[in-house]
């Protein structure tokens, strides 16, 4: 076909022709604009086909195994049909066969006599010889004696596979994986070198190794304890593995609840949890969403998507205004999705206008004072000892105290102050007017209007906070006192100070406490609460919430790809994070 129509070219691409082939055949006869469109579509088709090939390869083994099951099922159905057919025709045939055997047996004890009824010309049977007459009884007796001998040697019949086991049974498995009913409502497969103790039909303790369990729904549930935590289920398929330094739980179907005394997690289908002897918990996705191989093979079960760093939270901040009601997604392990208070929405879907960044970003307007993404669930952030907060930011001014991520009370806050990177932690005594300590380093290179990658790391043992700009260490400071555990929710884009010692004395002005314990006026921008004290030029807004005064500070610009790691990253790793090299 000779065509300069782009539709024809696209159709030919869909028929499986390559662009190079078409060019060779047709020459470059398309308009530049059409040629560009055809090239782009060819790339889409190629990427989709590559995706499908990758998926096909991943599905291959599982799918082939399913075909095997189906073929087996068909074979069984066919053999059942065959047996039914045989049963229908069997009585007459079987009767005849047994009758013949009986008469043969009888006949063998009696010598045949010439039968006068034989037709003329027909060969008469030869009279049996004596050893022939004895052959059948001897053979039958030998068979009976052999059968009795075998039974005596083997002992009683093998155990019924449906039997269950009494409490206080200890299952020890040393060799291959063994599948057995450990309770009326639960089937277990014990891995190699596994010790499982049974206390009752619903309580077990895994002392060593790995066990997969399939628990019927609607039963009394089942609890597996271990030195590192307990797993509680009501009807599901899951695996528990005990290692030297922790436990791994993964769920194939349904859901399970894991608890280690202080913390509790519900795992759903496809999720996998690791807990160690420090109480540290990681939750990830299993590499393969397999529900049935527990009972077939455990090879695929061993796959675990390793994360190079312990990323506890990642907010890509790529939401668009129309889907913001569904929340701001956290792609980390803890699902700390954010909510946006109605009427206080920052600008979602803002263009990054940067080739280094993907998707869109979120833009906070300094004038608004109350725009925030609220993280009501803070499971991943509260127990952190060492941590790193990293984000891409583009400031639009250099005002005081814009925050990237902030705990509502106590805890820590990261962001900026004028042209400095700022890390704040709650103080035991309100030495500073906000009841928090500030630690900062100069960051003049974080100009307004330019994207920069910033990171804040905290080492608990050293009480040290370090600041990074574009992966380069900008400075470090030692904290005068350790960080206090954050309380309440976290905020993205807003610094908030709940419960700080701000009070009113004259009904017109609001006062904070400074480093010397002296009160000072705070400018209040919310007229419902108080009026401004212009001599104090700090853009703090006082919110009245449940009778308490709450100052806030707003981030001044765009934030993208905010991440929190449960460890102190070095500058090399932070550079990789900035370049999206460490995406889990």
């Amino acid at each position: 076909m000779d065509s300069n129509n782009k539709h024809d070219w696209i159709e030919l691409l869909l028929e499986g022709r390559s662009l190079d082939e078409l060019r060779e055949e047709q020459g470059d006869c398309l308009d530049p604009a059409d040629a560009s469109e055809v090239r782009a579509i060819e790339r889409i088709v190629r990427l989709m086909r590559e995706n499908e090939s990758a998926l096909e390869a991943a599905n291959q083994r599982r799918a082939e195994r399913l075909v095997g099951y189906a073929a087996q099922q068909i074979r069984e159905q066919q053999s059942e049909l065959e047996m039914e057919r045989q049963r229908d025709t069997a009585p007459a045939e079987t009767g005849a066969t047994l009758g013949n055997a009986f008469w043969s047996l009888i006949g063998s004890f009696f010598p045949s006599r010439p039968d006068s009824s034989n037709a003329p010309g027909e060969e008469r049977p030869r009279p049996a010889r004596p050893f022939e007459r004895l052959a059948m009884p001897v053979l039958l007796s030998a068979l009976v004696i052999f059968g009795v001998y075998i039974l005596l040697q083997k002992g009683p019949a093998p155990e019924n596979r449906n039997q269950t086991f009494a409490p206080q049974t200890v299952f020890r498995n040393n060799d291959e994986i063994v599948s057995l009913p450990i309770a009326p409502h639960a089937q277990a497969a014990l891995g190699v070198q596994t010790v499982l103790e049974k206390f009752s039909d619903s309580q077990f303790r895994l002392a060593q190794g790995k066990v997969w369990l399939d628990v019927q729904k609607g039963g009394e549930g089942l609890l597996v304890s271990s030195p590192y935590g307990m797993v509680c289920v009501t009807g599901t398929s899951f695996g528990v593995q005990l290692n030297e330094d922790g436990i791994v739980v993964d769920v194939a179907r349904g859901s399970v609840e894991f608890s280690n005394g202080s913390r509790r997690h519900t795992l759903v289908q496809g999720e996998c949890l690791r807990a160690d002897n420090q109480g540290l918990i990681q939750i990830g996705q299993r590499a393969l969403h397999e529900a049935k191989p527990y009972w077939v093979s455990n090879q695929e079960r061993e796959l675990w998507i390793e994360q190079n760093t312990r990323q506890v939270a990642h907010w890509p901040l790529d939401e668009l205004p129309e889907n913001i009601k569904e929340g701001v997604k956290d792609r980390g392990s803890f699902g700390m999705d954010g909510a946006v208070p109605p009427g206080e929405e920052p600008e979602f879907g803002a263009e990054t206008q940067s080739e280094e960044l993907f998707g869109t970003c979120v833009r906070f307007k300094i004038a608004m004072r109350k725009q925030a993404i609220v993280l009501e669930k803070n499971d991943g952030l509260v127990p952190l000892k060492d941590f790193t907060v990293a984000a891409w930011v583009k400031r639009e001014s250099q005002v005081a105290y814009p925050r990237i991520l902030s705990s509502a009370s106590n805890g820590w806050r990261v962001g900026f102050h004028n042209d400095e990177l700022l890390f704040s932690s709650a103080a035991n005594y309100p030495q500073h007017y906000r009841g928090i300590h500030d630690y900062s380093v100069a960051a003049s290179q974080v100009d307004a209007g330019k994207w920069r990658h910033v990171a804040y790391t905290y080492e608990a043992d050293q009480r040290k906070v370090s600041f990074f700009i574009d992966g380069q260490l900008a400075g470090s400071q030692n904290l005068v006192e350790p960080i206090k555990e954050p309380m309440g929710e976290f905020y993205i884009g807003l610094g908030i100070y709940k419960g700080v010692p701000v009070s009113t004395t004259d009904g017109a002005h609001y006062y904070g406490m400074d480093a010397q314990g002296q009160s000072y006026p705070v400018r209040a921008l919310n007229p419902k609460v108080g009026r401004e004290a212009p001599q104090y030029d700090i853009p703090i807004m006082i919110l009245m919430e449940n009778g308490e005064l709450t100052p806030t500070t707003q981030f001044d610009g765009c934030i993208d790809d905010l991440r929190v790691f449960g460890e102190t990253l070095d500058s090399e790793t932070i550079r990789k994070v900035a370049k999206f090299d460490l995406l889990p």
């Binding site: 390869a57 291959q60 969403h289």
Partner: protein, 191 residues
Amino acid sequence: MIDLERVAQFQLGELDAFEALMRGESARMLGFIRRYVRSAELADDIFQEVCIRVWKNRAQLKNRSRFRSWMYQIARNAIFDQLKSEDWRLEIEFYGDEVTALTSVRDSIKEPRQQAALREWNRIVSAEIRKLDPKSQEIVALHFAAGLNLREAADALNMKHSTLRSRLCRILRQLRRSLEQKGIQSGILKP
């Protein structure tokens, strides 16, 4: 290309031929079913149901060269039979987590920025496909996920070949526009 001799053996009731034919198509078929149902377990069950139906209905295959489209017709029926009792509407999940996981092992896309770009690309393509009308979603699923050529996909959907072809062209042009609007630089994905 389908082995017509094997299809003939399958129609004569040879289970080994059936098994070989199904194994050849199994991974694509399973991937296709998983696009319609979120639960991997349910997809497995439907897949086995399809295998059984293919075997039982082998005498109804009129044209052996259309074995694949016939098989995918059976698969679609099995999926709809399974799901019609539930409050369900067709929404094909094109590139979910599994593809995202696979992107890290793709040979042609090794550079981390490219991988991240591919993830973004997958996300947008997936979202755009979900916006299509049900028929169009199925066209995409049959052509790309099931790997049927245009004629086979048209057979499976009881459509005219030319209609399906022009519709798929439209879908691709729309996809291209959406990717461009979202600022996805597909150039980065060049191998």
